[in-house]
């Protein structure tokens, strides 16, 4: 009895799933003509696109992945990759807004989930991958920033001064910016601290005392802004001699069975060449002796 019930239940679930699947697989977007030309109530700006990006990363990227990367979930039908020109050519600003507003099949409706502004921001973000999409204003990251670094050997402090160029191209202190400090490692960069610039644009950290350096204790420090969208990829590097010296032993420098041909073990070289030369010496001796046959003809 019980097992029969479970069987019916299971069958029911399978059928419902199948039904949903068949609907979602067969459904088509039905976008009314008038929405295709619909425009946002305000112009797209870099600020709004940035907001849209953070909303997108929370709500959309789990299925759609990062635009242009093709890392969307393998569903049927496949979630669109917004980085493709196919998508951008087919979908206007209004269409994108309509689709995320209404939803269809596996794609949920965000009508009541997101505010009107957020929906437009996401739309702007998605459309920002269209080369013809017009964005008003200036990219905030287009301001020119400058980092200068200095070090204090006594206190092992790394000091950095952040500046930006104003409209008259004068350098002015950049305050309230987060600066990140790294040490360059073999694979990637190791974060060693963050600091916020004061009103003079200065930030500093103390170099940690447990960093491994090269054989003389040198290490390369990399300093950049945390918010690259706002301040750009301005980077400054400095080599400090405060790290702990590490002496690396390269096993390939010694003579080993697994070494290259120049570092073959001595015993092997001696064995191999003495045997080869010894045997070939005898062979050549025999060949040379053949010339004596003629001389020995006279008894």
């Amino acid at each position: 009895m019980n097992s029969k019930k479970i069987t019916y239940k299971g069958l029911g679930i399978v059928m419902v799933l199948f039904f949903i699947f068949s609907i979602s697989a067969n459904a088509q977007w039905n976008v009314p003509d008038h929405v295709k030309n619909k425009k946002a109530p305000q112009d797209a700006t870099y600020e709004l696109i940035k907001t849209g990006k953070s909303v997108y990363n929370k709500k959309c990227s789990s299925c759609h992945g990062q635009p242009g990367k093709g890392d969307f979930l393998k569903l049927n039908p496949a979630p669109a990759d917004f980085g493709t020109s196919d998508f951008q050519d087919e979908n206007t600003e209004g269409t994108v807004f309509f689709k995320l507003d209404e939803g269809m099949g596996g794609m949920p409706s965000f009508k009541h989930q997101l505010s009107e502004t957020d929906k437009w921001c996401v739309t702007f973000y998605i459309k920002s991958f269209d080369d013809n999409f017009v964005v008003k204003g200036e990219k905030s990251s287009s301001i020119k920033t400058n980092l200068t670094v200095s070090s204090d050997n006594e206190t092992k402090k790394l000091k950095v001064k952040a500046e930006f160029e104003d409209k008259n191209e004068n350098l002015k202190a950049l305050k309230g910016a987060d600066v990140a400090f790294f040490v360059k490692r073999y694979f990637g960069n190791l974060p060693i601290g963050n600091a916020e610039t004061d009103e003079n644009g200065n930030a500093e950290i103390v170099f940690p005392d447990d960093i491994a350096g090269d054989s003389t204790g040198n290490a390369e420090v990399i300093i950049k802004f945390k918010d690259t969208d706002a301040y750009g990829n301005t980077t400054v590097t400095k080599t400090v001699s405060w790290a702990n010296p590490v002496h690396y032993e390269n096993p390939l420098n010694e003579r080993h069975m697994w070494g290259d041909r120049a570092s073959a073990p001595l015993w092997l070289l001696i064995t191999y060449f003495s045997v080869v030369l010894g045997v070939w010496a005898v062979i050549l001796w025999v060949v040379f002796q053949l010339t004596r046959i003629n001389k020995l003809a006279k008894k």
């Binding site: 080869v276 045997v279 062979i283 002796q289 046959i293």
Partner: protein, 451 residues
């Protein structure tokens, strides 16, 4: 010695020279045989040109089975070549007289197969034009460098060991082969190195042969031990075995012994030398084969019973594939048909007669060829990590027509070398046979006109 006795000996020497040089002259069916061999070689060459153009993709070798029929053939060729050392060197140094008529045959097999063993390796290379890299960039630590070294050394010593006992035969050839083309006579003259049969010359040539006969023993052991190390130095199931060296060497003697028995039969029939290679020699070779195969059986027992009993992880798959699985049919055919039944049969005197010996020899030789297949391929199909997510043809291996044709070319090529040598020079040392018949150096010199 009185005059009558000398006359009788002279007649005997005359008989020996006639018997042994007759097949070098006119020979019925020789041309057909050469054309047959060249036909096989041309087919293989055609296949090889396509392989050069299209790459090793025309073979069945893929990522897992990267050593296929070519490497299996290579071991087979090196193995067959080893018999020269056993018969003409070891048995000769011990002082066995019965090997005199077959020692040169063994040496011809050694030269033919050792020469082609080196070529078979090149057939297996995807970029043979880079062969010289081995010398320019090779590491002394690599068994492949050792292998190339010993193969070249063995070829050199084998050629010398073939050539040196030929020198005292040259005056006979110069005397008898006067109806032959000029280039042949010139070649006999050059290869005689001015031999006139003086006492000093005999002393020297015997010394040189003895030196080489001693030298070739460690070199021959090295060539096949190093060949086995190509496998045993690789930590793979079925290969990483400490007895692989002696296992290969004893297996090689069985292979070469079978090749010698087959060659003995063909030469004694086709060259009409039944009075020289007699039932006695087949009987001796049969007994020798039993001894060699019993030693080989002992190594086989060790090689399979220990992993079979332990059933270590990884080994178990391999042993199962050989005993009961994918390779079971070939494995048991080779082990029983190519070793155990021949041992039992050869224990009987009747089975050591020429014809039964030939049939058993062929069975042993075919078994020996596929034994090398069994050694090479199954291990490669049992890698340390499971084979998964690869194209279907990575899972299996069976040689393509290209591989069979090119291997056929190698076998035909080795046989062609032996055939050409047998047509240019007597297949038995005239002077040694004459010595055994009690003919003195003076009488031989008188015959050749070097008095």
């Amino acid at each position: 010695m009185d005059k009558e006795n000398t006359n009788e000996n002279k007649k005997s020497l005359n008989q020996i020279v006639t018997d042994l040089t007759k097949p070098l002259k006119k020979h019925y069916g020789f041309r057909t045989w050469i054309l047959f061999l060249i036909g096989i070689i041309m087919l293989g060459l055609f296949a090889y040109v396509i392989q050069l153009q299209k790459g090793l993709g025309v073979t069945a070798m893929r990522d897992y089975v990267s050593w296929g029929l070519y490497i299996a053939s290579f071991i087979f060729f090196v193995a067959t070549a080893l018999i020269g050392m056993l018969i003409s060197s070891v048995l000769g140094l011990i002082g066995y007289k019965w090997i005199t008529p077959i020692a040169r045959i063994a040496e011809m097999i050694a030269v033919g197969f050792a020469l082609w063993a080196g070529l078979v390796i090149i057939f297996d290379m995807g970029r043979p034009d880079r062969f010289w890299h081995l010398f320019a960039y090779g590491r002394v630590q690599s068994p492949i460098v050792w292998d190339v070294t010993v193969v070249m050394t063995y070829v050199a010593i084998s050629i010398l060991l073939y050539l040196l006992p030929l020198i005292p035969d040259m005056p006979f050839l110069k005397k008898v082969m006067t109806d032959q083309p000029k280039w042949k006579q010139k070649m006999y003259h050059i290869l005689s190195f001015g031999w006139v049969g003086s006492e000093g010359q005999y002393k020297l040539i015997k010394k040189l042969i003895r030196v080489l006969a001693v030298l070739i023993i460690p070199v021959a052991l090295a060539i096949h031990t190093v060949t086995s190390w190509l496998f045993a130095m690789t930590p793979r199931v079925g290969w990483a075995s400490t007895i692989f060296g002696p296992y290969y060497v004893t297996g090689a003697f069985v292979t070469g012994g079978a090749a010698v028995v087959i060659a003995m039969f063909i030469f004694s029939r086709d060259f009409r030398l039944r009075n020289y290679i007699t039932d006695f020699h087949f009987d001796k070779m049969g007994k020798l084969m039993v001894l060699l195969m019993l030693v080989y059986l002992y190594f086989n027992l060790n090689e399979f019973i220990i992993p079979g009993y332990q059933q270590q992880r990884g080994e178990d798959h391999h042993i199962y594939a050989l005993f009961q699985g994918q390779f079971a049919l070939m494995f048991w055919l080779v082990q029983i048909g190519g070793m155990i039944i021949p041992i039992i049969l050869l224990l009987f005197k009747k089975m050591r007669k020429p014809l039964p010996s030939l049939i058993i020899g062929i069975a042993v030789l075919i078994g020996a060829f596929f034994k090398r297949y069994i050694i090479t391929i199954p291990t490669l199909m049992h890698p340390h990590l499971p084979i998964q997510n690869v194209p279907a043809d990575f899972h299996t291996y069976w040689p393509t027509a290209f591989e069979w044709s090119i291997t056929g070319m190698a076998i035909a090529g080795a046989v062609l070398v032996i055939t050409i040598l047998a047509k240019l020079f007597p297949i038995m040392p005239i002077w040694e046979i004459a010595h055994e018949e009690g003919i003195t150096n003076e009488e031989m010199n008188e015959f050749t006109g070097n008095n």
